[in-house]
């Protein structure tokens, strides 16, 4: 894990904090910033550092453990697991397609031109390819 790996949350956001932790941590896991066998801070430590309730962090860790990213062992902390990505079925693809369309619609609604949206998606694609 790089020294700069960190979780960032916004208490003023409409997205629940546990969801923000899950999304941020999943991004770090997918990008390889947090690698298999890395040890993450305990629920208590992360909750203190972020100033949120222990249950919020515990819930986020549990969600990622259910997705196969983390191994939570009592008393020994939270370890990142080697995870084999599941093969997505048609239904999963349809869900993500719908969410992407909603996101693009939201970008357009916020005033981004279609060219700007394409540029953003293209730069995102470069990140995914690398």
């Amino acid at each position: 894990m790089t020294h700069a790996a960190q979780i960032r949350i916004d208490l003023d956001s409409a997205t629940p904090v546990n969801r923000q932790i899950v999304d941020h941590l999943r991004t770090l896991l997918v990008d390889g910033v947090v690698a298999p066998d890395d040890i993450l801070p305990s629920v208590r430590r992360l909750a203190i550092d972020l100033g949120v309730h222990f249950n919020t962090v515990a819930d986020a860790y549990r969600t990622l453990a259910e997705e196969g990213w983390l191994e939570i062992s009592h008393g020994r902390g939270v370890r990142v697991r080697k995870r084999r990505a599941p093969r997505p079925d048609e239904e999963t693809l349809a869900i993500f397609r719908r969410r992407l369309r909603q996101l693009v619609a939201e970008m357009r609604a916020q005033g981004l031109s279609s060219a700007a949206v394409v540029r953003e998606l293209a730069s995102l694609m470069e990140v995914v390819k690398s």
Binding site: Q6, I7, I9, D10, L11, D12, S13, I48, D49
Partner: protein, 304 residues
């Protein structure tokens, strides 16, 4: 005027000076305990609140000094206690009034927080040795006193006035002999509990930009706790051994040296922080934190 009453005047004046600067020892987004815009402290409103607080605080301090003076002259002994009490109460009310005056300029705190996922393991400096040695010193003193019990005087002084003259004596019992060691044990244990609470129960810094500074501030606190533990163990052990070491009623270590040793221990905290706060890069980062503002304000105060 006796040495004791002079000391009371010095204490009241020192507290007033401390209270004068106290509102400035905070991070830039706080003013009298209210979250405000970082540049609020430079506004006329902020300075007006500060002036009002200082005027009220000094007014009650002057009244407190007058009460002390009257008490010393023997007009009424209750005035000796009323002076410092009035000063404390007045300062609290003045601060609360400053807080109320600042409230209209309050703004919501920033909701963005960050935490490192690669937090380095933290512990008290010196490891187990740093913690155990102070207790070992107290234990060694207790064993030595037990072994030399008969050599201790049957009656010895246990309290000294500001001029070093003993004013309270005790018989040779386990309470009077081991009392300083037990007091030392309690104080040092409390310090170590405080250190554990810093390590295990306080945030490492919720802003990524200030993480380095916060880490330095935490290390300085832990270093001070360990140093203070060693200093206090030495002082309490020497105090307990005083009846054995001293030929008369005098203190083996003069009071000024004890106070000096405790103040020197505080350097373990302020020294590294002041040094790092002087570097421009650290100063820029420190500007955003409690710790940084504390150190910078202190340095500014000293320079003035």
């Amino acid at each position: 005027m006796t040495a004791d009453s002079t000391a009371m005047f010095v204490v009241v004046l020192s507290i007033a000076t401390l209270l004068h600067w106290l509102p400035l020892w905070r991070r830039s987004s706080l003013w009298f305990g209210v979250t405000v815009a970082p540049d609020f402290r430079n506004t006329l409103e902020a300075l007006r609140v500060l002036r009002q607080y200082r005027a009220e605080m000094w007014a009650v301090s002057v009244v407190a000094l007058a009460l002390l003076w009257a008490g010393v002259r023997g007009e009424a002994s209750w005035m000796l206690a009323a002076g410092p009490l009035l000063q404390s109460l007045g300062a609290v009310i003045a601060f609360a009034r400053g807080r109320n005056s600042t409230r209209p300029y309050a703004r919501r705190p920033d909701g963005v927080r960050a935490a490192s996922l690669a937090a380095a393991s933290e512990h008290l400096p010196g490891g187990a040795v740093g913690i155990i040695v102070p207790y070992a010193m107290l234990a060694a003193a207790a064993i030595f006193l037990r072994a030399n019990w008969r050599r201790l005087p049957r009656r010895f002084p246990v309290h000294w006035g500001i001029n070093g003259t003993p004013d309270q004596w005790a018989e040779r019992t386990w309470r009077s002999v081991d009392g300083p060691l037990l007091a030392g044990l309690l104080v040092i244990a409390l310090l170590h509990v405080l250190g554990y609470m810093i390590v295990a129960g306080s945030p490492h810094g919720r802003m990524a930009e200030t993480a380095d500074w916060t880490a330095r501030f935490r290390r300085a606190n832990l270093r001070m706790i360990v140093t203070m533990g060693w200093t206090l163990a030495t002082l309490f052990a020497v105090l307990a051994l005083n009846p054995y070491l001293s030929s008369g009623d005098a203190l083996v270590i003069p009071a000024w040296l004890m106070v000096g040793a405790i103040l020197a221990s505080l350097r373990a905290f302020s020294g590294p922080l002041s040094a790092s706060a002087r570097s421009p890069a650290a100063a820029a980062m420190a500007h955003r934190t409690n710790a940084g503002s504390w150190a910078r304000s202190t340095i500014r105060t000293i320079r003035r």
